[in-house]
Symmetry: C2
Subunit: 406 residues, 2 copies
Amino acid sequence: MKLIHGGVTAPKGFAASGIYAGIKKKRKDIALVYSAHPAKGAGTFTSNVVKAAPVLWDLKLTKESENIQAIVINSGVANACTGEEGDKNNLLMAETVAKELQIPISSVYTASTGVIGKQLPIDIITAAIPTLVKELDDKVEAGSLAAESIMTTDTFSKECALTCLIGGKEVTVGGMAKGSGMIHPNMATLIGVVTTDISISKELLQEAISEDVKHSFNMISVDRDTSTNDSLLVLANGMAANYEIREKNEDYYEFCKALNTVTTKLSKMIAADGEGATKLLEVTVKGAKDHEEAVILSKSIITSNLVKTAVFGNDANWGRILCAMGYSGVDFDPYKVDLTIESEDGSLKLVEDGMATDYSEDLASKILSAKEVKAIANINQGKAYATAWGCDFSYDYVKINADYRS
Amino acid sequence: MKLIHGGVTAPKGFAASGIYAGIKKKRKDIALVYSAHPAKGAGTFTSNVVKAAPVLWDLKLTKESENIQAIVINSGVANACTGEEGDKNNLLMAETVAKELQIPISSVYTASTGVIGKQLPIDIITAAIPTLVKELDDKVEAGSLAAESIMTTDTFSKECALTCLIGGKEVTVGGMAKGSGMIHPNMATLIGVVTTDISISKELLQEAISEDVKHSFNMISVDRDTSTNDSLLVLANGMAANYEIREKNEDYYEFCKALNTVTTKLSKMIAADGEGATKLLEVTVKGAKDHEEAVILSKSIITSNLVKTAVFGNDANWGRILCAMGYSGVDFDPYKVDLTIESEDGSLKLVEDGMATDYSEDLASKILSAKEVKAIANINQGKAYATAWGCDFSYDYVKINADYRS
């Protein structure tokens, strides 16, 4: 497996584009991903009862459509809580793309991100689509333009790609995502697109991604707010010409590994770029009775405002970590907990058997001041573990969200 | 029922004191509440698996002790995650109070609030207790000193009292509380003390307070972090000389009403004084199928960082409210939701049938800029309702918690 430069256009047969349509004030706001060859489509979506129009549409296609060839994504307006008009606008967006690309409308996934409750400026969008299609290109740069166009409060665009050998063929997996706020995926995520040229059955592609998000996108949290629009879409167009994966053989697990490398990289980028974040926080809980308990504990720590503000302040206030574990709902013995923090500046055990070690506050503060900080809690009652990613909590989160719409 | 001036010393037979012992840098840090007459004791405590030493002690007394006469509370250090030494220090604190007051140690509740993981400076505490006992007084001012001494990051002290007629006798209920951060009680709360001169059986006193917190203290949230030390302690010394309440008769329900008035007032004060808060936010969810669903929905709104930052910014970003309802886990039809905001500056329907009304953003912003803001969401699928209290989320929350220990 080898990381390569690029994103969604890295796999064979994929092109992309991203332009400024005029939905947002200044920044690029509409993106397209296209596979010349009909691809299998799979996706995972928000568990929020309030689902945006594009989410409902994609859910339908994922169930009913054999082939997907395009994904159109706008930023600026989420098309959520928009009623029948929202559904109509979403269809119009898909229809215009289908017409321009001369493919069936049932081959076009849609996604929207931005303010909830506003209608899409659909005239602006349909007017921009012909240009969007004309700009499609399979170069690395085109993928980057697409990644840039789906950003909202993101401070950098997020993409990555890798190649690996599966069934004797070179297979490429690429991806892009946007995150930043309202980030607490559950059963799905924000907006992410993964493309691959692997040949795999639709069922196994769906199973691979559904299993994958449990360990990647669903393990990040910026603010505990699960969005109305979370969507992770995957296209596999088969152009790597490997023997089609139809069962859970060695090739399948090799693909899952490649997929997880891409989704984990994107997840960590999203966590690190959380609204107002100054650093990436990685929390591993070890020694749990089972995986589920490790997940609950690590997420409880990563989502605690008090833990996040302490990390922002480089303050080794470990009591808040134990407290967050304590109210998670998981039963454990507080006096068996060990806690270590780590970064490029060193490693330090803060807690042994539930009580403070004789650690140096200065060294702890130095470790916490790095750009990537890890906390490892061992509850010593089993062998299961889980890792979650989040970020610290700074003044800027408040600033960004107090006047998001203005 | 009549609100009166005062707090824990308002009911007959109660005295209190609050002094500076030297646990904190400057502010008063130890308080005592005392009933000359042996009182029935009841309490509700944190559901956090990590329980502070005083919580474990009070739980034991609540179960085993027939009479309680004193409550000693220190601020500055929480005595949580402190192991055997923490238990020993807690006992020493209770023992010293018992000795000075010449009452059994089994009559002394304890409570601590402050930093987790540090040992109590027990010598300073035991040295201060004789003065604390000497200063006991039944005046209103003494209750206020006690309320002041239990503050941590609170910006004002919280107390209230009322009188009512029960069984033909004048009964008084008084209370004090501290809140501010790590406020997301579950099955219990922060630190609160309620005193009353009513005569009631221990069992019914416990039942009254256990039921009450579901509608008062457990309905507030500042930051979703359920502390290790949450304790609400109630003493009833019987000096009102009413016929002892031993069954759920009219007198019992009258007492519950009085109790709820005091606990709700204290709860709202805590919510309004949340760390960094600039306003009180009251959320009512109506039209739910049952009370439990209404509770889940209202708490999901009140705890959303995105809702809280929008309220701080006076931004009627109602999509975030619907989003928070949507990920709460309760099933409802988004297109049946109505949403109204209210304050002294007016009332405005923002959402009807799940979509924006044609409201004025200027008026919405004006309403949200008041010191007390209400949001009322009707999901129109039943008759149950619940109200929760919280606060907005400002830069100061981050500031306070990024350098809490420094």
